[in-house]
């Protein structure tokens, strides 16, 4: 059996063959239509197989894929007139969270994104998308500002988790996340979130107490990384693959559990294979959700968001 990578390679080979045939068609005037169709069928077949056989662990790997589009790329692609705003006004400017104001069609919005690097050097600059407390405080400042000017908020989530380090503890990582959860619950403007890569635990939730939450097909969202889960429960981080199977971290699982509102399809291989298409889907959802959410009055909006999170939990009463 071929692995996903091998299947993807096979598809690339077949695509190459098709373009060769097309070239010969053009230059020599020979008709290869039949062969090309056959090859296309073959590609479709392999693609279906990839989708069908994709395990939760494959999605984990895809969600962390180096070429996967990051928050800033979505922001640049979807919005106009983006003005980035920096800093938390207390301590500093965290590079793992970006934010600012922008326009999308007729709506003026606040945009916030957890930002991974686009290459190794950039990743160091962005601290691998692991926000520090001042990042969450910057996000909160911008959300409160959005509320003041009655701007809806769009957040993009992509983090392995909140940064775990001495500096983060000293500056109150727990407090920063907690404060965001509490304050987001009361925001009087619509909040729409997209999990575009990794939704790592509290570090993701801290910008996702939202009215609507969507996930890309190959993104993940969970209580911890599969590695962390395996190391806590089985004292063996190398059993991450197994952990991914039991954790229910895929978009499909989370839609079933009603944690999220919808799934955005990705091309085979991941969002980077056809970013234009994926970002267009995201844009369409933003516009249609803004259309309906901005019709609600403020207390309806806050109450609905409260009820959404209030309902989470599975338990029973015995006796």
């Amino acid at each position: 059996m071929m692995t996903i990578r091998e299947k993807e390679q096979k598809i690339e080979e077949l695509n190459l063959k098709i373009s060769e045939l097309k070239l010969i068609e053009e230059n020599e005037g020979i008709d290869f239509q039949e062969q090309i169709e056959e090859l296309n069928d073959k590609i479709k077949e392999i693609e279906d197989l990839i989708v069908k056989e994709m395990t939760p662990w494959d999605r984990v790997l895809t969600s962390r894929e180096k070429k996967r589009p990051t928050a800033l790329e979505y922001i640049q692609e979807i919005f106009e007139d983006f003005v980035e705003l920096h800093g938390d006004r207390y301590f500093g400017d965290d590079k793992a969270i970006v934010g600012g104001i922008a326009r999308i069609d007729d709506f003026k919005v606040t945009v916030i994104g957890e930002q991974k690097g686009m290459n190794t050097k950039d990743n160091i600059y962005r601290n691998f998308g692991m926000p520090a407390p001042e990042g969450y405080r910057k996000a909160l400042r911008l959300m409160k500002q959005a509320e003041k000017f009655n701007r809806p908020i769009i957040t993009f989530i992509d983090t392995p988790g909140a940064f775990c380090g001495v500096s983060a503890e000293e500056r109150g990582q727990g407090e920063a996340i907690a404060r965001n959860l509490m304050e987001m619950a009361g925001l009087k403007v619509p909040v729409i979130s997209f999990i575009i890569g990794e939704g790592g635990s509290g570090g993701a939730l801290a910008v996702a107490v939202s009215d609507k939450i969507y996930m890309l097909e190959n993104s993940i969202y969970g209580v911890l990384s599969p590695e962390g889960f395996a190391s806590i429960l089985w004292k063996d981080g190398s059993r991450a693959q197994e952990a991914a199977d039991v954790m229910k971290i895929t978009a499909e699982d989370l839609a079933d559990l009603k944690i999220i509102d919808g799934i955005i399809k990705e091309p085979v291989g991941g969002a980077h294979k056809d970013f234009k298409k994926v970002s267009t889907s995201v844009k369409e959802i933003i516009l249609s959700e803004l259309e309906s959410l901005t019709k609600l009055n403020k207390s309806e909006l806050v109450n609905k968001r409260y009820e959404r999170f209030r309902a989470f939990g599975e338990f029973k009463i015995v006796e």
Partner: protein, 294 residues
């Protein structure tokens, strides 16, 4: 003694016995065992051997060095609530196996049997030196006080009860964080409890958190750090990430005082620290300072 030996410089006046690593004299341990082991407990801080009964009478604080032993929710309530005033709510709420995690029900059942509680938090109403409050006490002996659906729901109901009855809310935290075995539902409890606290706070409710040993992870990053007033019990560990995780990340050993309530007080995240014996009086004082004049 021959006269010559009187003038030797290395004359031994006393015999020294070799000490072992713990600083105890060899043979000393053997001299005590007239008392059965289960009546004695060794202080992890100063190694003093303490009678369990005397320890209990001293609120489970070492009589020699003052080290605070961890206590369970019932013991805590006994110390904090006025006698006979505690009335429990939602006692029999139990968890559901959201992830179909292997053996989870069995694990829960064994903790239930050991602790006499159904999950990691005990909630209800009580009075503290006459001040009526809604109280929640987390129990680190129940799966490390981890927060799954039951802990989240019981805390949320306690918040809602305090809101509805216009009572102050006091929560003693002790938790290893989100309960892994309940996956995403555990994570959502952070948002749920924080949302409820937002409403309570907007309605003018007073919320006091008491951080006890150990408070970490998802509980630190939600209701533990959201008190109007945050009190730390002396010496308690509090942090977001586990110490081991940070040590692995930075490849250095961290000092002992890192992630204690004392450390957080210095960094501005905790209002006050009190030893166990003073907690009740401190809570009562704060409550009386919020009491409205009738």
């Amino acid at each position: 003694m021959p006269i010559g030996e009187l003038f030797r410089k290395n004359y031994k006046y006393i015999e020294l016995t070799k000490k072992n690593e713990a600083g105890k004299l060899e043979g000393e341990e053997k001299a005590v065992p007239s008392i059965p082991d289960d009546l004695l407990i060794k202080c992890p801080s100063c190694s003093e051997k303490l009678y369990k009964e005397a320890l209990a009478e001293n609120m489970y604080c070492c009589t020699a060095c003052g080290h605070h032993f961890r206590i369970n929710a019932r013991e805590r309530l006994q110390e904090i609530a006025d006698e006979g005033s505690f009335e429990e709510i939602d006692r029999t709420m139990v968890s559901v196996n959201t992830l179909d995690y292997p053996e989870y029900e069995k694990k829960i059942a064994s903790y239930q049997e050991k602790s006499g509680n159904y999950d990691g938090v005990v909630t209800g109403t009580c009075s503290i030196e006459g001040h009526k409050v809604v109280i929640g006490v987390m129990d680190s002996t129940f799966m490390m006080g981890s927060m799954g659906s039951v802990v989240g729901e019981k805390i949320t109901r306690a918040i809602e009860m305090a809101d509805a009855e216009k009572l102050p809310l006091v929560i003693f935290t002790a938790s290893g964080g989100a309960r892994m075995q309940e996956g995403i539902m555990s994570l959502m409890q952070m948002a749920k409890t924080s949302s409820a606290l937002k409403r309570f706070s907007d309605n003018g409710g007073l919320y006091i958190t008491v951080i006890t040993d150990p408070t970490t992870g998802g509980v630190t990053a939600s209701f533990a750090m959201l008190g109007d007033i945050i009190i730390g019990e002396k010496g308690a560990l509090i942090g977001f990430a586990g110490k081991r995780v940070i040590e692995q990340t930075i490849k250095q050993k961290l000092p002992d005082e890192f992630q204690t309530v004392e450390f957080l007080l210095e960094h501005g995240f905790i209002d006050a620290i009190a030893p166990r014996e003073e907690l009740k009086e401190l809570l009562a004082r704060i409550l009386s300072l919020h009491q409205e004049v009738q």
